[in-house]
């Protein structure tokens, strides 16, 4: 066993040093410029609007949550791989670990929103506006939960769970690269169980807090799972794009092959079906119960131009990927996988847009602010991801299950 492992380690070492340092510096330069330019751009557009920073706030929230949900999905993926002792996914796990640890980025980006909340701004979260809450029986009842200090304390708890879990899983895995300590695999497996439980709870409550409370009268208990399923699908889309690019370029030749691409795409396919299932469940229950306080949320999303967005989501997020990726050959074709995964990433953004923006404006608005925001949040998180991946291997070369991943074959 030792001979092939050493061989593989040597191979992945060679692969890891594939990117020349000058290329990396150039990439960083581009990313930093992008972060700065988009940030300044957002501020400029926001000042130009003169709406008290309202659109800036909504665009900020939407795009930070776009990245945040992907990072959460990646952490779920890593946890699931450990707890199921998966061998097939080892060569792709590091990418997920880096993505998970990069949650530091969106967490940092949410802090300005928190400061605005604590200083009494109510134009993003209407429950923070005393004049809006006053006289509203429901909001006064919810005030004990929906108030800026308690909201901030809750966020600190979520952030602590996310950052510690994400960074710990990445750092432990990277430590194994250097020490080759096989017991770390068992340690990660043991800790993954509580981590997954905490992730599930924090994801649910964080999406209640940050997204559902935008419409503070409305509630849906399935909402957290809905956000999770979208984020998980998007995280797997990121992983399958990375896998497809590697397979295409032959960068990790025997380490990441069409077999891995096939399985990661299958998993994405499954979670996309799960997303559709959850979306339909939420819709059907609200539609069938026909209680005005619940239907109002969906009725808004079926009118004022949101009906078109809903349709695009239904087809773009579910039906098109469902049909296109159904044949085996499609899941093994790098170009098809890259195209569908990119579509799914865009659709995940649109999904969050569909959740957030009806609270901002009666009909859909899509302008420079939203696009700049997406570029900003993504590039900012990419810088964080680069910082975590810098000087480290992109394949967990000392993982005891690496040979299993290399010989992985989809029957």
């Amino acid at each position: 066993m030792s001979a092939p492992t050493t061989n593989l380690t040597a191979k992945s070492d060679k692969a890891a040093s594939h990117v020349k340092s000058s290329e990396r510096t150039n990439l960083y330069l581009v990313l930093f410029t992008m972060v700065a330019a988009t940030f300044v751009g957002m501020l400029a557009v926001g000042i130009g609007l003169n709406d008290g920073g309202r659109q800036l706030g909504f665009a900020w929230l939407l795009n930070v949550w776009f990245v945040l949900s992907i990072c959460l999905g990646a952490m779920f993926f890593v946890g699931i791989q450990h707890i199921t002792r998966s061998g097939w996914s080892v060569t792709l796990r590091r990418v997920a670990e880096v993505t998970g640890a990069s949650i530091v980025g969106p967490v940092i980006l949410l802090i300005p929103v928190l400061i605005a909340l604590l200083s009494g701004h109510g134009n993003l979260f209407s429950w923070n506006d005393p004049s809006y809450v006053a006289g509203d029986e429901i909001l006064e009842g919810k005030h004990a939960f929906l108030n800026a200090p308690f909201f901030s304390i809750r966020f600190l708890v979520y952030a602590m769970v996310w950052v510690s879990a994400g960074v710990w899983m990445l750092k432990t895995s990277q430590r194994q690269d250097r020490t080759g300590d096989k017991s770390l695999t068992l340690k990660m497996e043991r800790r993954s169980a509580p981590i997954l439980i905490f992730l599930a709870l924090t994801t649910t409550f964080a999406s209640f807090d940050w997204l559902m409370s935008l419409d503070p009268h409305w509630f849906s208990t399935i909402y957290g799972i809905y956000v999770f399923s979208g984020g998980m699908t998007a995280a797997l889309a990121v992983l399958s794009i990375v896998a497809a690019v590697w397979v295409k370029s032959g960068r990790y030749q025997s380490l990441v092959t069409a077999e891995h691409l096939h399985d990661i795409t299958k998993m994405m396919y499954g979670f996309n079906c799960f997303w559709a299932y959850i979306a339909f469940s939420q819709y059907l229950l609200i539609w069938y119960a026909n209680i005005p306080e619940e239907t109002i949320w969906l009725k808004h999303r079926q009118a004022h131009g949101w009906d078109a967005v809903t349709m695009v989501l239904m087809f773009g997020h579910f039906f098109v990927p469902f049909v296109v990726l159904m044949p085996r050959v499609a899941k093994r074709n790098t170009n098809v996988v890259i195209a569908v995964s990119s579509l799914l990433l865009i659709m995940h953004w649109l999904d969050l847009y569909w959740l957030v923006y009806p609270q901002f404006n009666e009909s859909p608005i899509l302008g420079s602010m939203e696009i700049l925001g997406a570029m900003f949040a993504v590039s900012f998180t990419a810088v964080v991801a680069g910082w975590f991946a810098k000087g480290e291997k992109l394949i967990p070369a000392a993982d005891p299950r690496l040979p299993e991943a290399v010989s992985h074959h989809v029957a």
Binding site: F280, Y283, L284, W287, Y288, R328, S407, H409, A411
Partner: protein
Amino acid sequence: MSTITPTQPVAPAESEIEVGGLLAEFRSAADVVSAAKLLRRQGYQNLEVYSPHPIHGIDKVLNAKGSLLPWGALAGAIIGLTGGLWMAWWMNAVDYPFIISGKPMFSFLPSLPVAFELAILLAAFAVFGGAIALGGLPRPANRLFRIPAFARATNDRFFICVDEADAKFQTEKTKTLLQDARSVRIESVPVIDSRESKLPRPFVLVAIVLSVLALIPPVLIAKARSTTSTLPRLSFISDMDHQPKFKAQTTNSLFADGRSMRPQMAGTIAQGDLRDDSAFYRGIQEQEAAGSVSGDSEGNVTFLTGTLTANGVASIKDEQPKNVPKWVTEFPVPVDESLIRRGQQRYEIFCATCHGIGGDGDGLVTLRALELEQGTWVKPTSLHAEPIREQPVGQLYNTIANGVRKMPGYASQIPVRDRWAIISYLRALQKTRTATADEVPADVLPNMRELN
């Protein structure tokens, strides 16, 4: 040493035995794969590889075609999905249309779960049945099982079977080829009688008998559905149908009067049944409660006698019975805004369906009934009609509790206090048609004019 040797059948020359093919045993997966490759290169087509575990890549070596099974699953899923939708539509909108709360006969969304479940079910059936059919099961006899060494195919050995039907098959040549390919043992595959590979006759007979028997229940059901009978229905669980207990309106020999329903004991009253506040509980003035009212001594009012005229409306004015109860004319409960609001809410739940939100007798049920033109419906009297306006509150109370003409009593649905609340709201509703400007508070009046 011994001269007696067991008599062994004289083995005929190899070339004379009928050979169904050759079975070659290998020690490792790598050997079996390279042997299969070799045979394929030689042009052999009819190969089968047996292994205790899946060998990655062997399907490529054998040029095995992709299974048809996924297509079967897809077909099952599509049939289930469309069949489920069709079933929901046909049952609800065609075969047995039934209006429920004014909802449409067929709706796509709630039909999706059943269509989805059916898609999964039929896809699973297709895979289950398809796997059995494609695997050629049931197969009562397998020629390879006649070779004892083959048992290790489920344990630690790998086998290749070359069928004699292969165009390239030549017993000796193929044997040499397999030996060269590091086979550790080569056996001739026996030819088995085609009758042996068929299901044994008793199995077939039992299956036929069972499937005929299985037809009996559906035939009986079909017969029962299409004919009439004077016989009582079949009782499968008789101790549930006939329970040893006394029911209302039956006899009981344990008591002298033979009744299973027991009358109240003389001089007793059940908890909560006292109801001595006649004005509140019956809408009849206290001193009149006992005696003068037509009816029994407990103060229950007998039905007003009336006659139905040709157009179905009862005329009660002409034949007012002489002993009309002395109705309460003042509310026996304090009337305030909260009572009226409660009354409005109850009115809109219980009364408005027939009497209409405005009390004009144009509720949704009434409109629907009149639309059906079945002639059995009596349009409720407008609550703004003069006879109703002039009724004392006690009489209105009695109407709510006990009903009048075709209107049923609502005593079981509406508690006593809520009946008074509804009457208080009814009085306010009637006021909206009769009130004059000087009855309206001065500060509200200008706003009302604006509305007009």
